[in-house]
Symmetry: D2
Subunit: 337 residues, 4 copies
């Protein structure tokens, strides 16, 4: 980190900072400028901490310069991580599609969706058995029954299953059923839950928090990685801004930026990112163009009757059309689909 | 809710919307304007839902008009809720102060802080035994040992204890020790945790999420209230904006606004809201002026050595001075202190 | 607009609202619900205003339901506007590229860039003669000399010129030289400047304000259109969010959304939207995939020596490569390039 | 500034950065850490610029460490600036109140307001003759006629006048009538207008931009100061966030923070900051508690009939009550009123 001293800091104050840095295990490096003295603190900030430097008299500012994540960083691992589940690879050449309803509602619903998404080339079925809802009065999911229906559908259609866990107490159950365990946006900083999924071997799909910086998102991944589970997939799903025409603002720039700083695969969920079905297809296509390793899409046989998020769900027909466009763009940017 | 039809919606489309609303249990009320037809849907949106109306052809926009919270609303209860714990009232005439360190570190630390805050008139001791930290490599709290130290301190100094719970699995333990159970900002939408604390009788201090609208915050309170626990205290602690000089932007306007829409007590945490100790005192004083029912302050005997959030902690001396200013302003706005 | 009354509003209060609406020229339409009465005000809000209704006793909320823009709306004009300048069409089948340096620096610089962008298929040269800079100590542009250099370059290379105007006093001069007059992000709500360019016949490229909602952006276009100039091109260039890795967050969802609500062409400027050259190419490509009618790119023969925004400028070589990728994606989504 | 090199930067790359810094006029100072080399660039960043360093191979990050403003900084001037206009001081012990209607509408309106605000102790009358309105169809102000009415009111009631200028072309006129020239939030980065008012001797009230960081706000002040006008008053008026219950989020923390970094007086406009009259009084009072040098309030004899911003205007009666509360709090925090 770099410590900027006040323009009128005394020699004694500078000396105190240097002493304190050295006591904490840093090497201190002084640069005396015309207007200010700055002090470089050399050492591992992640381990040594900030030593309370900001509170010392004469200190104007303390600027961290190292990335606080290590295992998630490309510094640690130059090639991109490819996560293999059966014969499906996430993070490789192929852009993967995860599709399905917001919530598992019934066997008929799931079977119908599964058939349609499979027929159009998707390999992974999404569907929530436990649903985080803003209102306690909204449908909260079928719980274990929902997990069983997902398993049945997998059995019948040969798709992989991604489903959300919200509570460390139900994690063993979810892990038993899911191929990929999803951590939702509201739990991105549920640190106990992150640690727990870090102790499983299953791939984890980690959604970006509603208002998480990319650094915080990577730090959340670091929680999982630091427990020993290397299989983290990051999922951009829109951030909160001042815009009111849409639920969220889909931040596609997160794709190339995260891929620059981290080796982890990045996928995009335009359904939540926009929140209105009619704008989902162009953003799904744009996500592929931006370099996403996958796209997650809400598809419902009858969005009008959906128990959750109907307004952002595609019909199977619109989904089929979107798949074709994504495939064309994937090819244009040199990816398989 | 109100449905705005497209300017060129057909009679048939309007009819379909009306039919669907009535099927869902609403009464529909048409207003034909010069440019548009709008349809008022009369009924309880909370229960009847949106009926997928947004997806029907010819619909331009669906605008909810009812507040989605009920139990948290002043419509439900006109007088403000006063929460009484022993002889301490929160939400009454007296502005309450909750003070103490970010994290419980040792008995000496707690005893020293407790003595100082008591001597200056605070009645409630804050201190974290379980700490939500952005980095997995940071100090995570003393866990049960920390709770025991808090209990010992309460015993000795006669203060109430507020401490955070992060995991439903440790809730029974935390509830055993705490007088007020804190739900942190990152767990404001941890719905399972909300439901669980809703099943206890203990007062719950619910911090506003980093990027939560006031409506979402009240909906989180609604989760707790709907399980039967009426003792919810809301705590504004800064929201995320584009500003980079501070960790967060303290939103004091939340105080009068929440008090207008809800009967629940509202307190303010300027320590997290600003993140730099030197700006905490004026914002603590301003919180009292804005009508807060309480102020939560981080106080550490030696912020330089704090294991967590030293940069935003007041020394006992600065705390004493801030208490005097808050008392003066409380009196000026007609509150006790 | 819709007026939601308090749950305990009296008959007299309701009557007063109705009376006031009618006095203002609205027709009022009552819907009495179980919990609330709502009143639909039928009439042209744009002209009749809000009549101060929000201030009447018993009124809980006033919700506007009409879009406040008219001329910019697709309701007014169903087919998209195509702006033709010479043989270049903006808003038609072809995705147009505007490229060039942030600031005009010298004839050599401009000629070199012009040659390279032309050779790679761009038809429009961008370059600032008047530069809005955050600091008064930064390079502010060559002013009229810069305009002359742009004109010379147009002469020699047969490219169209887009350049920014910042001050109504220099507008006549800028309009004399430019083919497209740019209004920068910081002037999106400089209403006098908007009115002035509205009185010219020249196409106007209107950048989205740093923190402008899409509605405000369309209202800014409305200022220009309402003065009689129908040739407005909207340009998304990143909005301000809490993210700190990038200068701005490029909002590609603005492309399909604006095109849904408005008939005006929409282009994207990923250079300002991201602010770091290495992330510009994927976002340029994604912009095409999202349906943009054009892309604006900063290109400099030697970004290292650029007097402005070097960090976000592409070298001619990187530009050439990006053009190829954009062309491939344009084809994949059915556009010409 | 500090340059952080890539973890695998070569010696040659480091050497190139050092060379380039020295060529630009900096002294370079190397610190070789375990994982990274960092380079301190010593010299005046404001003048020397960034030298394109970010683009050099091997550079991971460039971090500016100096404040970019000079004249606005407390480093330049330790004691606070006090601006004296007649016998009114802004920035001194006394908290000043600027009150009046959003827009000048008529002589009767102005006289009535002037009488009421004077009678309650305010010394400065606000009122817009030129109004920045989101919609071209809204009332745009009385222009010169409005200025004349303000002057007449000043004559009769002995109040100072603050009024907004929007266009450099009308500045001479506005400057002739106004005691304090207001730059509105939408023009905070209208750099030509800033330079122009910098050439006058009149005090300038500079509102914070809707989404301006505090640093950008101080840089806008720097534009005015750098032209020779030292009389700048900063006015916080709410920033844009995701919250939808209010038009803006009033950032009271800006008061102590700006006063820490700058010597300029800071006032607060809660009327625009909240946008709803009923929440204005507590925020006005909180502004005084936070240390504001003044408060600006919209007051209208009949908000219901106001041509602009009626919803956020206080009646004279509510204004009188708010004045009393502000006076009490001013006294409690040791200020005169």
């Amino acid at each position: 980190m770099v410590i900027v001293m006040d323009h009128n800091a005394t020699e004694e104050q500078i000396e105190t900072v240097v002493q304190r840095l050295e006591d904490a295990g840093y090497r201190a490096h002084l640069s005396r400028g015309v207007e200010r003295t700055i002090i470089g603190a050399i050492g591992d900030e992640t381990q040594l901490g900030d030593a309370g430097i900001e509170l010392l008299p004469g200190v104007a500012n303390v600027i961290p310069i190292m990335q606080p994540y290590k295992l998630a960083s490309r510094v640690m691992r130059e090639e991109g991580t490819v996560i293999t589940i059966g014969d499906v690879e996430i993070g490789g050449d192929t852009v993967q599609v995860m599709a399905g309803p917001c919530a598992v509602e019934s066997k008929e619903q799931l079977f119908e969706v599964a058939e349609k998404i499979k027929e159009n080339g998707a390999r992974i079925l999404r569907g929530g058995a436990y649903k985080p809802r803003t209102s306690p009065y909204s449908f909260q999911g079928l719980a274990e029954k929902g997990l069983q229906l997902l398993a049945e559908t997998r059995e019948k259609y040969g798709l992989l299953i991604v489903t959300e866990v919200m509570d460390p107490r139900t994690l063993p159950l979810v892990a038993e059923y899911a191929d990929i365990i999803q951590i939702g946006t509201r739990n991105m900083q549920n640190f106990y839950l992150l640690r727990e999924v870090g102790r499983y071997n299953k791939p984890v799909l980690l959604k970006r928090g509603l208002a998480a910086t990319m650094e915080e998102w990577l730090m959340a991944a670091e929680y999982i990685l630091s427990e020993g589970n290397p299989n983290v997939i990051l999922c951009e799903r829109g951030i909160r801004t001042f815009e009111t025409y849409t639920r969220n603002t889909l931040d596609l720039s997160a794709v190339p930026i995260i891929k620059h700083f981290s080796h982890l695969p990045v996928i995009v969920d335009p359904s939540h990112g926009i929140g209105k079905f009619r704008f989902v297809p162009p953003m799904a296509v744009a996500a592929v163009a931006a370099g996403a390793d996958g796209v997650m899409l809400e598809v419902h046989p009858n969005p009008l009757e959906a128990l959750c998020d109907g307004a952002q769900s595609l019909t199977p027909k619109k989904f089929a059309k979107t798949m074709k466009q994504m495939a064309a763009v994937a090819q244009a940017v040199g990816r398989k689909f």
